[in-house]
């Protein structure tokens, strides 16, 4: 591995024997005041699986989008197949033989699989039958089971990803770019995806894989490029044996300094995670939350949440595991007072809060970190200080007016306590990074008066290691204060290392309860996929 002194040398140092399939030299891209990429050079050979590693905001997605022509670079030269390559849009990339699986799916939900595959590839009259036949052939060759005439909206996240991949494969690309493709998949689906990558690479296609997960790198990467702050900070030709160095380069810190949760996620597989000796229902016997047979039906009468019953004690972290879309959102929305339950009741500290408004729920001592931060938890157009006290601006009233000075001072204190990094409390909330936004939301909710229960739904989604560590540090601190925590997450490794016990949701039903221990990982994984014990 080379730790780069100057970005350009890192690329130049990685000399390959055959001419590279794709070569990027000194790529630069600026968004407003943010230098997203700065002098990045990478080379990718045919048949190579090249992983891009880095924290959020390190520039990985930007780099992929430059290659795919979504953005145009401010600086740098790209060469593809030995010739200069300057895409003005995705169309250019596609005609050159570059295909990309995007971080956010680019499928039309109300069309069938076949129609999505034909979009942009067919001319004139659609030959749906012919396309379906090709899908079946590809499905067989790569082990990607798909019903060609299913509608996208009826497919699971994993199946949608398969459609994305088949869409790429149908173009028979020379370079396949996958931007964090495993973030939303079940463990077994991740396995399948990695195998597809290997098979594609074996056929001589170059593969660029963006990922957070070191286990995946260990498994399939031929080479790794680490980005930090828009620059190449390290490259490795033997990633499997240099994981620790790569992580250090990525976060500029030693792994030991990280929280156990982060190391479980990033370093060794979860089975090596430290033993947890906390027990179920320890310390205070007081219940923070009791849920009795909560049921939510949607407009079509389908049960999104089915007879959900659970007790969360004070000072306990209960994790809700499950692939997204299995009732977690509905559960969180009902408990936050944002969605009426069809049936069932729930109690916070012994008080029946069923059907109460969000305001009443907050008054009862429930802090809510919602799943959709931008839609529910904050107002991005308002300042950080205003967002920090959004639910209790009353407190800063003087003569009926808002005392901005007091608000600013309190905001500064809160920013310090929760390590919200921003130039000042008056900054627009939208200009903060995702991690700092989430820390701010968490800070606000954890300082809710008379906090009994913290409801955290996917609190680390889209956050980098440092922020994840900070979020869980704060949640644990609250827990030690005697707050009950209901933690909903689709990141199983995080749940295992943070929660005391885990409840698995599948299609709105509880599939089982487990102690949060690494040895239970496979059992939980099976339950997440709907296997009954």
């Amino acid at each position: 591995m080379q730790l780069a002194e100057h970005p350009l040398e890192a690329g130049a140092a990685a000399v390959m024997e055959p001419p590279p399939l794709l070569s990027l030299r000194g790529m630069g891209k600026r968004f407003g005041s943010l230098q997203a990429l700065d002098g990045v050079s990478v080379e990718i050979a045919s048949g190579e699986i090249h992983c891009l590693l880095g924290e959020n905001g390190a520039g990985k997605s930007t780099l992929c989008n430059l290659v795919f022509g979504v953005y145009q670079p401010d600086a740098g030269v790209m060469q593809f197949g030995g010739r200069e390559y300057r895409p003005s849009g995705p169309a250019d990339a596609l005609t050159q033989g570059i295909a990309m699986v995007h971080q956010h799916f680019s499928l039309v939900p109300d069309l069938s699989v076949v129609d999505n595959l034909l979009l942009g590839q067919a001319r004139g009259i659609l030959k749906r039958g012919e396309c379906a036949q090709r899908v079946r052939t590809l499905s067989e060759n790569y082990g990607l089971a798909l019903d060609p005439f299913a509608r996208i909206r009826d497919l699971s996240v994993g199946e949608r990803q398969r459609v994305e991949i088949v869409k790429c494969l149908m173009r028979e690309p020379r370079l396949l770019v996958l931007d964090e493709p495993t973030a939303v998949l079940l463990p077994i689906e991740i396995e399948g995806l990695l195998q597809v990558c290997q098979r594609v690479a074996a056929q001589g296609c170059g593969v660029v894989l963006v990922t957070h997960k070191l286990a995946e790198i260990k498994k399939i990467a031929h080479r790794v490029t680490v980005l930090r702050g828009g620059r190449v900070v390290a490259t490795s030709n033997d990633p499997a044996n240099e994981i620790d160095l790569l992580v250090r380069a990525m976060i500029q810190r030693d792994l030991e300094g990280l929280d156990a949760s982060a190391s479980a996620m990033f370093g060794a597989p979860a089975t090596d995670a430290p033993e947890q000796d906390r027990e179920i229902g320890h310390r205070i016997e007081d219940e923070a939350l009791q849920v009795n047979g909560l049921t939510v039906r949607d407009a079509e009468g389908v049960a999104r949440l089915d007879n959900f019953t659970l007790i969360v004690n004070r000072g306990e972290i209960v994790g809700i595991a499950g692939v997204e879309g299995n009732g977690q959102s509905e559960l969180a929305a009902v408990l936050a007072g944002m969605l009426p339950a069809t049936d069932g009741r729930f109690f916070v500290a012994g008080k029946n809060m069923t059907g109460k408004s969000p305001q009443e729920v907050t008054a009862a001592g429930v802090g809510v970190v919602p799943e959709d931060r931008h839609a529910v938890a904050c107002i991005t157009g308002m300042s950080l200080a205003e967002n920090l006290f959004l639910n209790r601006l009353d407190r800063f009233k003087r003569w009926g007016l808002l005392d901005r000075k007091a608000l600013r001072e309190s905001a500064r204190a809160l920013m310090q306590e929760f390590d919200v990094r921003a130039a000042g409390p008056d900054l627009s909330f939208g200009s903060l990074s995702g991690g700092n936004q989430q820390k701010a939301v968490l800070g606000r909710e954890l300082t809710t008066e008379g906090l009994v229960l913290l409801l955290a739904a996917q609190p680390t989604r889209g956050l980098d290691v440092g922020a994840v560590e900070a979020v869980y540090g704060q949640i644990r601190k609250a827990c030690e204060r005697g707050v009950g925590v209901l933690l909903i997450s689709s990141e199983l490794d995080e749940l295992i290392s943070v929660a005391d016990r885990i409840v698995v949701l599948y299609r709105g039903r509880i599939m089982g309860h487990c102690v949060a221990h690494a040895s239970e990982r496979e059992r939980i994984g099976a339950m997440m996929a709907g296997h009954v014990e």
């Binding site: 849009g89 995705p90 680019s106 979009l119 001319r123 004139g124 659609l126």
Partner: protein, 305 residues
């Protein structure tokens, strides 16, 4: 006697539905691609005016039709430019265009013909299809119409087919449902949306010409009289599907025809209620009282990569 009346009713329903049918089909394509083309009314009026003037000047209604279509293209270009390139609010710009066109055609009409003129303008010929035209009672009342009506029906059917079975239709659908997917599959969302607005302009021009040189052979100030808005309602009523939109337009046409038929049948209904009928239906449709609506998710959302 009764049968004769029914035939007249059916014939006039079809005739009155035709401008709606044409403009609503164009509007549907535009909305499917994600552009709410509020300026249908203005486009129709432009088409009606330019078609009539063209026909009057050249003496040939066919040339008039052609001039009508050409005259609407700048309006369509303006709407497409404002809503796609400048990403302006599509409702505001559409209404602005409508008001502008109403003023412009009125002024131009008065300047050209004088405000009192009711000049007969050469109109498009009528045609009875073989066999259908020979059906007793119905043949003459229903099937003796301007040839443009039949051509319009063919165009509507063709549009439905294109939307359903071709790559173009798929791309239009996807541009309104998930434009990012369109962009990432290598197609240009801009081109699809510009094209869709121009098609809406073309269809509105046909609808306008149908009014002025197809149906009554004259132009009157503001003669579209809200038909464009009815077409918009027809698309909502039809839940953004061609078949259902056609049904909705026929229904509006029948409601309009009822205005003239009910008094003739001796039914005593206040005239005001009759005039209100199609608009009342449209209001109910827009109010979402007729089943669940499923508008294209990215309707009115300008595309930014």
């Amino acid at each position: 006697m009764k049968l004769e009346m029914l035939a007249v009713f059916a014939g006039s329903s079809l005739r009155l539905a035709m401008p709606l049918l044409l403009s609503a089909t164009g509007e549907l394509v535009s909305e499917r691609a994600g552009v709410l083309n509020m300026s249908v009314e203005g486009m129709m009026l432009t088409g009606a005016f330019a078609g009539a003037m063209g026909s009057l000047a050249t003496g040939s209604p066919v040339l008039g039709l052609l001039i009508g279509i050409i005259a609407v293209m700048p309006v369509a270009a303006l709407q497409a430019f404002l809503s796609n390139t400048l990403r302006a609010n599509q409702i505001v710009t559409g209404i602005g265009i409508n008001i502008f066109v109403l003023g412009a055609t009125t002024t131009a009409y008065r300047a050209v013909l004088g405000s009192r003129s009711r000049t007969e303008i050469p109109g498009l010929g009528k045609w009875s299809p073989p066999f259908l035209g020979d059906i007793p009672y119905f043949g003459d009342a229903v099937f003796h119409q301007t040839w443009m009506l039949y051509a319009g029906l063919v165009i509507v059917a063709l549009t439905a087919w294109v939307m359903r079975y071709t790559a173009l239709g798929l791309a239009v659908h996807a541009a309104g449902a998930e434009p990012r997917a369109v962009d990432k599959s290598g197609l240009s969302v801009m081109r699809i949306r510009y094209g869709a607005v121009f098609f809406a302009g073309f269809m509105s021009a046909l609808a306008g010409c149908f009014l002025s040189i197809g149906d009554i052979h004259t132009f009157t100030e503001g003669m579209t009289n809200g038909a464009g808005y009815l077409a918009l309602a027809g698309v909502i009523f039809g839940n953004w599907k061609v078949g259902r939109t056609v049904m909705a337009c026929l229904f509006f046409g029948a409601a309009t025809a009822l205005q003239f038929q009910l008094p003739a049948m001796g039914v005593d209904v206040p005239n005001a209620v009759l005039i209100m009928l199609p608009y009342l239906m449209a209001l109910l449709a827009v109010g979402g009282l007729v089943g669940r609506q499923s508008a294209p998710p990215y309707l009115t959302h300008a595309f930014v990569r």
